[in-house]
Every structure is written in structure tokens, then in C-alpha cells.
Symmetry: C2
Subunit: 349 residues, 2 copies
């Protein structure tokens, strides 16, 4: 079969690889119906995170189960499934605590071969899914083609935006600032509205993304960044700052902007993979009682909750996909996101 | 009258100063019945925070109102009152948001002369209280002498421990670690128990403080610190870490210990004035979804809630006072706390 392999900075290739085979009894083979490129894939693509040995890449996909191991109970051949961006058993103490990203037996697509053989990435024709009972969420059929983008968004970006909002503690009536206009930031706008925020300030200078932010529920859009961006937030919040700030980028600058946008007693929910620095200014957080909560989003636990709203059309996170390409053009998919020609690329094998 | 003035490192003196006089219409004169020395006063006493010009010091006191300005409504001469460790109007947007420590018109005892004249500290015979309506909480009489320590604890340490527990999100059934065995840490043990924590692990190597921690509701006491302390916490929590960690010290080491003691998805509530460094390790927080929430505790808002439990004896934070001295021995009070001969010293003018 064909699957995507990253060899180094700006070097991703669709290659012929061995077909996955069941090997642990608890695994499943999934034929990928749609996959996508994540903003965090760009850290490797840009060489910010070194690649080391070439390895399979991709961690967001949906598909149809082709076969399951003999210990798999909850998933059957023919099921349409959503895979979260990581593997988890969904039964250990961390999973039960709602932090399945810290699953005691789980791991990461494409990077972890503890599961009985080479770990597949999601940007391929098929994926062997270890811990299939814990990892996969079945979507009751039939699934129509126009549902594909929305379901794929549940593999990562919609749940990640939701995690930012939950971590920040968004409540009805809140004023919320969203830092970041990538797919996660835009989904964070959806999540803030869904949780009842009444003033939602999206920070974006890109006309297409601004448009989507408005459509998703933003009540204000601020194009300025840094000190000017913070000043604009203050102007919209009586000089106090926002109740909640959703940090969906991960750079030192975006976190600084998020902290400065929060009101005393406010909270930053952060989900951007921290790439810009190891520090948070504890003294400023202390003086103003601004908390910072978040991390790698345990989206597996959110899929069932969000799925009905996606299928009913109450929320439309699938709209973040503004480019669709065949899997054979995966290199162009990366380039389009790297050069910000696309917000989020959907790939069809 | 006599009041305490700090001149520099290890140099506090009881001096003759001018009697306070009403000057803004919104102020009150309070005769101090009891005051105390705060752990944070020791930062100045030890020279870690430079003193600059000699100034009045002390920010925890209770007393009886002697006179009020003509715009004061809620407080009358003769009232027994608790003063929080700061001044606030209790009406601005930040106060309404529960963050009266960020009051738009408030300030700090002894350091702020915006209020119509030299700002008094609490370690004196009398204090002029600006914004008396917002700042002071009336204790319905009669107040007996044995209630004094418990009421004084509400001026800071009990509310601060409570803030740590609230910031960490302590809920019934939680496992809670308390880092720090000073008066605030001990009050945090009380607060964790009061909020329903079932396993409370106090970190202390001091026999007297261990004893008080047990009495306040600790279910386990760990004497080890650093990596060994973290290992002991892990052993008591099935290798996962604690749901909530209350950081009541403020050094870089104590924060590192707190972060490492939290389970994935857990939260650190921090109230120790950060003295050891400006950084929090955002990448570790991200990877394990460990949030950090807290700051300078808005105790004004907690006094009414906690007062009934103190008066009924349901909680006994007054037991943190293990030394009582006349105000004339204020220098000895500082020395006793500095040398850890006393946990918390109560001063009587």
C-alpha cells in the first residue's frame, strides 16, 4: 500500500510500504477514508522538530474497519470509525480521569513501535490501530460523503478547540479571546460559542479565516497582534481583559499575548504545542490571578459528546478544510499549509 | 501611638508615630486587638525584597472600630472587624469578579499613600483603614478572647489556604498534596478537608507542624523533599500523582515539587509569593495537562463564608499561632519566625 513518510525538513513522500497486518489480538486494520495534515506536523516539516530516522507521519484519520483481532469487542469489520490523534486503552486510571493522552499503555501514531510492529501514521491507505477497543469511536451508519470533513475534524482540531475552552473554564456569558486562527483556533471559536460565551473575540489578520471566525460565532475580530492586539482586547473589555483566553498557537509570543489579554482572575486554556520557550511568567500570573490550564487535548473522550452536534449540523467544524487533495499530492498538502495557502488540507487516499 | 517600622534587613522597630486621623470620608480608625507577622513579611526582613525607605509594616490585624468617616455606611464605631491583608472597595468589576486583590481603587497596607496620607501597616496600635466599607468585615458581637486567634487567621492565612484549594479545584473525594508547612500550608490542609478531600498528604519535616497537620485533617505526612518527596507522593498515589497540589511556599523548588506531584490532568493551586524564579515549565505542563492556577489570595471575599465555621469551631485555623507576644516584642516575633522557632506569632498591642 502507499503511505506518507517524512525524511526531513520539507521532505515528505508518498511511498510503497508493507500492508499492515493484525498482530496483537487487540488491534484493527482500518482503511482510511480521509486524513489530514496537522499544524503540529509542520514543526517536523519545517525542521523545528528534527525528524531523525525517516518515519511514517499523520495522526488524523477516519475510515472503515476491515479486520479486527480476536480480543477486540467494541469494533467490528465494516464499522465507520474516527481515530483520535493518539492510541489509548480508555480504561486505565489516566483515561478514567479524562486524560487519555496520558494513557498508561497508549502512544502516538507513527512514532511508537511498542504495539507489536511498526506504528502506522494516519496519512496512508491503511492503518493498523493498536488498542482498537479503546482508541476507535464508531460512527453509526450510514455516513454520507458530505459528513466526512466534520467527522475528520473530530479526530483532532474540534476536540482540541473544545479542550482549550474547557481548560479555560468557559461558562455561559463569558467574554472569550481566541489567539490563533488556524483550524484549532477556529474550532475554539465554535467551542466557546457552544459553551455559551456571549462575547467571542477572534484574533486574525487573514480575510478568509476572519470570515470563518465570524461564521463560527465570533462577535469581534482583531487583526492587530502583540501590544496592539492586547490594547484592542482591553478596549473591547472595559480595560479589564477577557474572562477566558484560548491559546491555540504555541509560540512564546502567542502565550504572552494570551496572558496579557486575560482579566485578573481570568484563565488561559492552552492547546498549542509549546514551541517557543519553556517559561511562563509565574509572578505576573500570581499578581493578577491568571491561571494557565491545558495541554495535549484528550480528544478521545470528547468525540462521543461532540458527534451528535456535528451530525446534526449544530456545529460545522468541517468547514476548516479549505483544500482537498488526493493522497498522492500529500507533499503539496504540506506545502500549502506551510505557506499558509490553506488552513487545513483534507486528503483522500 | 506605637507602630512597627522596617528599616532594612533584620531591622524592625516599634516606634512612636503620629496617631492616624480620618481624612477621606470613606475611612475608619481601628484600634488593633491582635496582629501578626506573615511569612511574606520575612522576604523584606531577610533582605530578599529590598526595603528602600523605612516604612510601616504588617498587614494582618483585627480590632475594634473607633471612628468612621462621614461616607462610611457598613461599619460603625464599636464594631469588631477583620481586615484582609489589603484594601479594596468591594464594588469594582474586579472585586465583583472575585479578585478583590486586583481592586481598581485598592492597595496594600503600609506601602501605598494614595489614600489620603501615610498608609498604616497592621503591626501597630491603631490603623487608618481607607475604603472602610469595602475592606472591613464586621464580626457580630460579642467576641470572646479565645476567638481572637481564629478570627485573626481570617485576615490572611486561612483565606489564603482556602484560595489554594479553590484554585486547584479541590472536590469531594480528591487526593490532595500540600507543599509547605507554614501557617498557610497548614490552613490549606484545613481547606482541603473542608472541601471534601479524602486523602490529604502534608509535606513537613517539622514535628510540631506535622502534629498540627494531622490534627487539621492530613491523612499522610511526608518528611522527604525534592525527588524523594515526589517519589513518596507517587507511592501513595498508585504511581499516578495527586489530583490537586496546593503550593504554599513560593520558591522555585517548591513549585517544581508541586508540579511533579500532580497527576496527569491534575492541577496546582499556588499561593506562595513567587520568590525563586519567573518560570513555569510550559512543556511539562502541556505534556501532562497539569494546570497552574492561583495567586495573591482575594481573602476579603472568603471571610464571610469561612467565619461561621471558625466561630462554630468546625475549623480551628487559630491553632497555627504557636507564640504570642506583646507588640513591644515585635522584633523578637520576626526573629522567632525567621529562625523557625515559631510557625506564626500573634502580637497584642
Amino acid at each position: 500500500m502507499r503511505a506518507t513518510v517524512i525524511h526531513g525538513a520539507r521532505d515528505v513522500r508518498l511511498e510503497s510500504v508493507a500492508d499492515p497486518v493484525l498482530s496483537t489480538g487487540g488491534d484493527a486494520i482500518v482503511r482510511v477514508v480521509a486524513a489530514c495534515v496537522c499544524g503540529s506536523d509542520l514543526w517536523s516539516y519545517r525542521g523545528i522538530a528534527p525528524t531523525g530516522e525517516p518515519h511514517r507521519i499523520g495522526h488524523e484519520f477516519i475510515g472503515v474497519v476491515e479486520a479486527v483481532g480476536d480480543q477486540v469487542d467494541r469494533v467490528r469489520a465494516g464499522d465507520f470509525v474516527i481515530a483520535p490523534f493518539y492510541v489509548c486503552d480508555n480504561t486505565c486510571v489516566n483515561c478514567r480521569n479524562g486524560v487519555s493522552t496520558s494513557c498508561l499503555t497508549g502512544g502516538w501514531w507513527g512514532q511508537d513501535d511498542r504495539f507489536g510492529g511498526f506504528a502506522d501514521g494516519g496519512q496512508g491507505e491503511r492503518v493498523r490501530v493498536p488498542l482498537a477497543d479503546g482508541t476507535l469511536v464508531v460512527v453509526p451508519g450510514p455516513v454520507t460523503d458530505d459528513e466526512i470533513p466534520g467527522l475528520l475534524a473530530l479526530a483532532d482540531v474540534m476536540g482540541t478547540g473544545h479542550h482549550a475552552a474547557l481548560s479555560a473554564g468557559v461558562q455561559p456569558g463569558d467574554t472569550v479571546v481566541v489567539v490563533g486562527d488556524g483550524a484549532v483556533g477556529l474550532c475554539a471559536v465554535i467551542a466557546a460559542k457552544r459553551l455559551g460565551a456571549t462575547k467571542i473575540i477572534a484574533m486574525s489578520r487573514n480575510p478568509q479565516r476572519q470570515e470563518l471566525a465570524w461564521e463560527f460565532g465570533a462577535t469581534h475580530v482583531i487583526a492587530e497582534r502583540g501590544d496592539e492586539g492586547v490594547a484592542a482586547v482591553q478596549q473591547l473589555t472595559q480595560g479589564i481583559g477577557a474572562d477566558r483566553v484560548l491559546e491555540c498557537v504555541g509560540t512564546k509570543e502567542s502565550m504572552a499575548q494570551a496572558l496579557a489579554s486575560a482579566r485578573p482572575g481570568g484563565r488561559v486554556g492552552f492547546v498549542g504545542v509549546p514551541a517557543g520557550g519553556p517559561e511562563l511568567p509565574v509572578r505576573d500570573m500570581f499578581n493578577r490571578n491568571v491561571g494557565v490550564v491545558g495541554g495535549v487535548a484528550p480528544v478521545r473522550g470528547y468525540i462521543e459528546e461532540l458527534l451528535p452536534d456535528v451530525r446534526s449540523g449544530a456545529i460545522e467544524p468541517g468547514k476548516v478544510f479549505d483544500l482537498e487533495l488526493p493522497l498522492s499530492e500529500v507533499a503539496e498538502a504540506y506545502a500549502a499549509m506551510d505557506e499558509r495557502r490553506a488552513t487545513k488540507v483534507l486528503l483522500r487516499p
